[in-house]
Symmetry: C2
Subunit: 295 residues, 2 copies
């Protein structure tokens, strides 16, 4: 029996990230649109994406989208700044369902809050080198001056639990020093781990700089998009949305991290072989056949 | 024309690592056995291995060995502590050429230099959790007491160029504090990046602790093995060994890092699709057919 993906409003939302960081986006979706079902994929075997080339990030993103389509998702959120920067255009062009990235939402919010038109962006090297935030912000307003800074140590520091440590603060001070000289009044947290450093960054940046969290804005945009297209879900009979989590490695460790940042308990995380979804588009066209069956 | 891999002493040595770190092993091989040709593979698309499961590390290592066999190598060096810890046994059992890991060499050297039988190991979480150094050291001498410590921030700190920074020193002091309480007299640098922190670690540990660099010992063991098996190379007619480098991503960036630590210039690094070597063993048996041709 064929199912029409594009108009089934009771289908889940697909969300993916290079690892655990995208859970900060899932958390916002759970808060802003509590009735929607979610299928999450974290590419924990191949994390991080920030240091990979554009071609590789596109290849990996395609595999993940192929996988999510086998779960009949009605929309896809790329909850990874690097993948949004490198692969959103390509994925969007190839898919017949809505695809959102975290970058657009973050840029639009920053454009709203800046008063002096001087905006800073902190992110992984991949996101900064892509220049994508700068490009989007200039499309919104050519007068914006955008200053980017790669912060490769923030993710490992967060994953070591040093979110409130003086070492992280010292590293943060070095990273943002140039941005402070530039007199920015708005700072985009351009990597999904960074909202977990919000308290520390607020202290380092001082009260004159507004921090923008793209995860929050993405959830708001997703809610609007679902409403506009008549894709908002009917209420669940039991009032309980369905959340499913898949990873490419280390399901237990993922579940532990998830438990520490999500408002709901995760009962099960399944590990899948994501590389098996590589040739799916060419082979099976519509992505409705599940290669997992082969293994 | 069929070639016999196992007895061609003029064939190259295959060396692989999860990324750039294994170049510290290549550097030692170049110094200790200057006549040997080397084919290096760095899995720069999927680095780091330290946070991946055993099953994933084995799968990736098999793909890489399949690739190296297409280059007719006469021996393989696993220049990655995590892969040596997780995959050496499996790879060795499957191959008909010698396979060396960095861990055995490091453990044997530590066993020789310790006087109080108290040995520390610093490494990635994967290597420490595997308990492999402890196991090997106990096989050498059951009276050894082995104390491990995972240091996940060292690799990103080295890759940020902070090898002589007070931040790295502060983090190092925290990491090794427990080992110092244990009164160790020998410390194994159980990750290929760590020799680049040797000066700093020597200062933090003090003169009472001997640092063991497994890369150095691995090159010595390889030289001995090649001599014992009659596999040492004939002299090159032009006196110049042949070094070839392959990566799964970001060849330019790899080449830059390589230039900073190797005694020779690298003229070319080629990017290959390592995932294409996944099913090779089952499909093609001997690994003599190159799947690159398909793409």
């Amino acid at each position: 029996m064929e199912r029409d993906f594009t108009t089934d409003k009771n289908a889940p939302i697909g969300v993916f990230d290079s690892g655990v960081g995208g859970l900060t986006v899932v958390r916002e979706i759970m808060r802003q649109i509590p009735g929607e079902d979610i299928v999450y994929f974290g590419d924990t075997a191949r994390v991080p994406y920030g240091s990979k080339s554009k071609a590789t990030v596109i290849r990996y993103s395609r595999q993940i989208v192929n996988f999510l389509r086998t779960k009949q998702v009605k929309a896809i959120v790329i909850a990874c700044n690097t993948a949004s920067a490198q692969a959103l255009d390509v994925i969007e062009a190839e898919q017949d369902i809505p695809v959102l990235g975290v970058i657009g939402a973050g840029a639009r919010m920053a454009a709203q809050v800046t008063k002096n038109n001087r905006i800073g962006v902190i992110a992984t090297r991949g996101t900064i080198d892509s220049g994508v935030y700068e490009q989007l912000l200039h499309e919104l307003n050519p007068r914006f001056q955008v200053f980017g800074k790669a912060c490769p140590l923030f993710v490992p520091l967060v994953e070591e639990g040093l979110t409130h440590d003086f070492i992280t603060e010292e590293i943060a001070r070095r990273y943002v020093k140039d941005l402070q000289y530039k007199d920015i009044d708005t700072l985009i947290l351009g990597c999904t781990h960074y909202p977990l450093l919000r308290t520390l960054l607020r202290k380092v940046m001082g009260p004159g700089v507004t921090l923008v969290n793209p995860a929050y804005e993405t959830a708001i945009e997703l809610r609007q998009l679902l409403t506009d297209r008549g894709l908002a879900r009917d209420e669940h009979p039991d009032g309980q949305a369905d959340y499913r989590f898949y990873v490419s490695d280390l399901a237990d460790q993922f579940q532990e991290f998830a438990a520490s940042i999500l408002p709901y308990d995760i009962h099960q995380t399944e590990q899948i072989d994501i590389e098996a979804y590589g040739a799916l588009r060419e082979e099976a066209g519509e992505g409705s056949h599940d290669p997992e069956g082969k293994y």
